[in-house]
């Protein structure tokens, strides 16, 4: 494990990128950042600008129009960047997979590092996903 990876895993800034979601995943993500779960213990903070981010949280079905923006956000991010797909919609396309305006899942267009299934996923599931992501980066 290189020095850079080890530092990156200790301080993750999360940027939330919502692509036409139903808002349930977003509410659960906000719950994860409340004092009850206290992600700052692990050095995880939510940031407002993509330029400050180390992790992009994708939530919702990325329809044709939202996908253009999501790709743009990914390109604007300073590398190295990690991507988490949050919820069934971002993981698979969910019940909207047959829609005319959708090329699901979003992982086809943006390299996703880890999937968090659930509709919506619980805060515990998100924390477990981040822990697994860190373990994956460390090569365990």
């Amino acid at each position: 494990m290189s020095f850079a990876t080890s530092i990156l895993t200790k301080s993750l800034n999360v940027f939330h990128c919502a692509g036409s979601p139903c808002n349930n995943c977003d509410i659960e993500l906000l719950d994860t950042l409340t004092p009850r779960y206290d992600l700052e213990r692990f050095g995880i903070t939510l940031v407002g600008s993509i330029r400050h981010a180390d992790v992009i949280m994708l939530s919702g079905v990325f329809n044709t129009k939202a996908l253009i923006r999501a790709k743009r956000v990914y390109e604007q991010a300073p590398k190295p960047i990690l991507v988490i797909a949050l919820g069934n919609c971002a993981c698979t396309g969910n019940i909207f997979i047959e829609s005319y305006n959708l090329d699901a899942p979003v992982g086809k267009h943006i390299p996703v590092d880890i999937l968090v299934p659930g509709c919506p996923p619980k805060p515990e599931a998100m924390i477990a996903a981040v822990a697994k992501l860190i373990a994956k980066l460390k090569g365990k």
């Binding site: 850079a4 530092i7 990156l8 200790k10 301080s11 004092p35 206290d38 700052e40 213990r41 050095g43 940031v47 407002g48 600008s49 330029r51 400050h52 180390d54 604007q76 300073p78 590398k79 190295p80």
Partner: protein, 308 residues
């Protein structure tokens, strides 16, 4: 040889390295106290160090159409200024008898440069949100500089000197009525200079999503954060030197302990204000500084002229 000593003082002790380490520890205290106020556990002690190191390994993106030279050099101006300010303020405590280690006016100018570098960088980034943040920062500078100068004038009137060492030696403003009023003004201004919550209009996380710093990433962002962290040391220390008697190093461990107590006290006051106050609009901030705060500062200066 003198140059080597000066470079050592600027880079290692008591300049950059020493101040940055204290500042990072203090920013951990800030985050930990904030966490305790919100009934959380809070980050580990080394978290600010990890954050700064992480910015150093990230890519620096320069936005399309931005002025590359100003965008990338702006963080350096603020960083350099805060380093020199740290050296001057520390030297006035450690070696008060040194020939010329700068005076009050130099430090006042140097403490304005970090905010100006933020303005320069935000306007160079060609982002509308950053421009709003930058223009708010300019208004805030114009608002708080006047009462800050008036507050700092109190010890100058009392000691008839603008040398930091003379002010520190005389300790004329400590616990005098005018000194206490000036201290209140200085604490309020410190909140704005450190861009803490009631006056963080330029970075407004919720409406400007990072504001002036929105386009910065990687080492350039890290440099701004490091500048902010070092201001956490320099600002309270400067207020202490001017209005609270600084740190007395000739009095053994009691003097040092009292100095650390004053410093931590100022920091905790700032953190508590930050955690209990909502952000004000920029027009409210300007009205507050030019109205009430300036009134108190003028009262302090008049009291000092009358000898109180």
């Amino acid at each position: 040889m003198d140059y080597l000593i000066l470079i050592f003082q600027l880079i290692i002790f008591p300049g950059f390295l020493f101040t940055a380490v204290i500042g990072l520890v203090i920013s951990w205290v800030d985050r930990k106290v904030t966490a305790k106020v919100q009934m959380r556990v809070g980050p580990p002690l080394l978290q600010p160090f990890y954050d700064i190191l992480k910015y150093m390994i990230k890519e620096t993106c320069v936005p399309e159409g931005a002025s590359k030279i100003f965008f990338l050099s702006a963080p350096l101006f603020g960083f350099a200024a805060v380093n020199v300010a740290a050296l001057i303020v520390w030297q006035s405590i450690i070696h008060p008898q040194a020939a010329f280690m700068g005076d009050l006016v130099v430090v006042l100018y140097l403490l304005t440069v970090p905010a100006l570098s933020l303005v320069l960088g935000s306007f160079a980034s060609k982002n509308p949100l950053a421009s709003i943040g930058g223009s708010r920062e300019i208004k805030l500078i114009m608002a708080y500089e006047l009462p800050f100068l008036l507050a700092v004038l109190v010890p100058v009137i009392k000691t008839h000197s603008i040398r930091l060492a003379d002010i520190l030696g005389a300790q004329a403003a400590v616990l005098a009525p005018s000194g206490i009023l000036a201290l209140v003004v200085a604490i309020v201004v410190m909140q704005a200079k450190l861009a803490l919550v009631p006056f963080d209009c330029s970075e407004a996380e919720t409406e400007l999503t990072g504001g002036a710093l929105i386009e910065y990433s990687g080492p350039a962002l890290g440099m701004y954060k490091l500048t902010r962290v070092m201001l956490w040391v320099v600002m309270p220390l400067f207020v202490m030197v001017v209005l609270l008697g600084g740190i007395n190093l000739n009095n053994g461990w009691q003097g040092i302990l009292a100095g650390i107590g004053k410093y931590v006290g100022l920091v905790v006051v700032a953190v508590l204000i930050r955690n209990t106050a909502p952000r004000v609009r920029i027009d409210q901030a300007v009205r507050f500084f030019w109205g009430k705060v300036t009134f108190v500062a003028v009262a302090a200066a008049i009291l000092a002229l009358m000898g109180y």
